[in-house]
């Protein structure tokens, strides 16, 4: 089982750390050749405008779309969610259009409005998930084939799944609760998801 983490910019080291902590080999992806042997790909948090440019410049868009077409699992967190969407509220960045969702960037305001909140997430068991939102995007439209896994109190979705693709507005890679990573690993063909699996020791801080 090999999961890649797009490493052109953002908190890819944090995702790799969580994956390794749950016993999965994690590979940094900077060029198309790094995608070849992967069972799944995570697009991390970062600046979506920078991710958008670097993905275009190094021809990463088509091979990622091809992975999805071949049924591989792909998950985007925050900026990664923006990149997976097929509609965003601005002209820049240019998303890949792989998931049938509309996304609003910086939906909560500026950094001073970034927040933490406990959420119930469908499929992860009864325990709430501590979600960290940083200059976060939010989903403003979901297509028919998209399942909402979690929403804010006002109903806006912040975690969605469409087949083997997932997107979250928040950053599971910043916490020790690896349930969403384990859930994603199961989508990628790894061991079945166990909601009672223990926390990892600690998230990476940098």
């Amino acid at each position: 089982m090999n999961i890649g983490v797009l490493a052109v910019q953002g908190d890819f080291a944090e995702h790799c750390h969580v994956l390794r902590s749950v016993g999965v080999a994690a590979m940094e992806v900077r060029l198309p050749k790094h995608l070849e042997t992967l069972d799944g790909l995570i697009i991390p948090g970062g600046e979506s405008t920078a991710l958008s440019r670097l993905m275009s410049l190094y021809d990463l868009r088509d091979p990622v779309a091809d992975m999805v077409a071949r049924g591989k699992a792909v998950w985007g967190t925050c900026a990664g969610m923006i990149m997976l969407a097929n509609e965003i509220t601005e002209e820049d960045p240019v998303p890949m259009g792989l998931m049938d969702v509309g996304v609003q960037r910086n939906a909560f305001g500026r950094q001073v409005d970034s927040f933490e909140q406990d959420l119930l997430i469908r499929g992860l068991g009864d325990r709430e998930y501590h979600a960290i939102f940083i200059r976060a995007p939010v989903i403003i439209r979901v297509g028919e084939e998209v399942e909402v896994l979690a929403a804010l109190a006002d109903g806006r979705p912040v975690a969605v799944q469409q087949g083997n693709m997932m997107a979250t507005s928040f950053h599971p890679e910043l916490t020790a609760d690896a349930r969403i990573h384990r859930y994603f690993v199961s989508l990628a063909g790894g061991p079945p998801f166990d909601p009672e699996a223990p926390l990892i020791d600690a998230p990476r801080v940098r």
């Binding site: 490493a7 052109v8 910019q9 953002g10 908190d11 890819f12 080291a13 944090e14 900077r30 948090g45 970062g46 600046e47 405008t49 920078a50 440019r53 670097l54 410049l57 925050c78 900026a79 601005e90 820049d92 960037r105 910086n106 305001g109 500026r110 950094q111 001073v112 409005d113 970034s114 927040f115 933490e116 909140q117 406990d118 959420l119 119930l120 709430e128 960290i132 939102f133 940083i134 200059r135 109190a153 950053h171 910043l174 801080v205 940098r206």
Partner: protein
């Protein structure tokens, strides 16, 4: 079920810096420059009235920028906007927070307002980045609430030598700390003028407790990749882009160099035909009074 919503926590402050990693933060003095920086792939811009090279040339007292200029930059781009306050000037910091700046740089590039005390950054919702020359200075700033650190280098010179010195000093100190026996920790904490707890935490984790960018003298893609290979999480480029002959090309090239810092073939490609770099001043030619890095440590 409506859960508590927490803002301004250290997790969301330091977490924002984690999202900037592997990226380039560019100094800009106008909204147009901010748009160029975003177009080049910057992960954030630092809004200021004069880049460090000009502050150096002009002399006098350097202060927080005019809020209208910062507001114009905030309106021009969707990426995060940082702005500088003077060391210890907590009212400038309050103003920047009120304006919705995404990160405050308590910066030695401006003329210090307090030579004894830095801003008590825990009281703010907005996160702060601070400069350091070594691990002790970094940990003192973290104690005060800094959520991100940058090694200082020597701003406005285009000479990378001090950036290298400071990054190596930080990395060497962490390597040494990892092997330090328990019974030497108290003396080490005293010598570094940091709390024993924070020093023990740093030893345990084996790295700086917050994201650490490099700054001060980066002028080329190779400089940026050098700092990344030395252990930086990302790079600030101050005067190096908009004081060069072709800011668009150079900005774009430095962004790629930070992503592909370990691939010399890509570094060779992106280093081609960038036009004139900033003129630069060797740090060796500066008098002690001209050094910015030694201010309020």
């Amino acid at each position: 079920m409506v859960a508590d919503v927490l803002t301004g926590t250290f997790t969301v402050k330091s977490g924002h810096a984690q999202m900037l990693k592997g990226g380039v933060i560019m100094d800009v003095v106008t909204a147009d420059q901010a748009r160029i920086a975003q177009e080049a792939g910057a992960v954030a811009v630092m809004a200021l009235e004069r880049v460090p090279a000009d502050i150096r040339a002009d002399g006098g007292v350097a202060r927080m920028s005019d809020p209208s200029m910062i507001a114009a930059i905030i309106n021009a781009v969707s990426i995060p906007v940082m702005a500088k306050c003077r060391i210890g000037h907590f009212v400038e910091a309050q103003i920047l927070e009120a304006m919705g700046v995404d990160y405050v740089d308590e910066s030695e590039v401006l003329t210090p307002a307090d030579e004894q005390h830095h801003v008590w950054k825990h009281d703010f919702t907005v996160p702060f980045v601070c400069g350091c020359r070594d691990l002790g200075e970094a940990l003192r700033r973290v104690s005060e609430g800094a959520a991100m650190i940058r090694t200082k280098g020597e701003a406005g010179t285009g000479d990378v030598v001090e950036a290298v010195r400071h990054m190596r000093a930080v990395q060497d100190a962490i390597r040494k700390l990892r092997n330090l026996p328990d019974d030497e920790l108290v003396v080490e904490a005293r010598d570094m003028r940091v709390s024993l707890d924070l020093l023990m935490q740093t030893r345990e984790e084996g790295r700086m407790p917050v994201v650490n960018f490099a700054a001060g003298g980066v002028a080329t893609p190779a400089d940026a990749a050098l700092m990344m290979q030395l252990g930086a999480d990302g790079v600030f480029v101050g005067s190096g882009i908009f004081k060069s002959g072709d800011p668009v090309r150079r900005g774009h090239a430095i962004v790629q160099a930070v992503t592909h810092y370990n691939d010399p073939h890509i570094l060779a490609d992106v280093s081609k035909d960038l036009g004139e770099p900033m003129v630069g001043r060797s740090v060796r030619e500066l008098s002690d009074q001209e050094l910015l890095a030694t201010r309020s440590v």
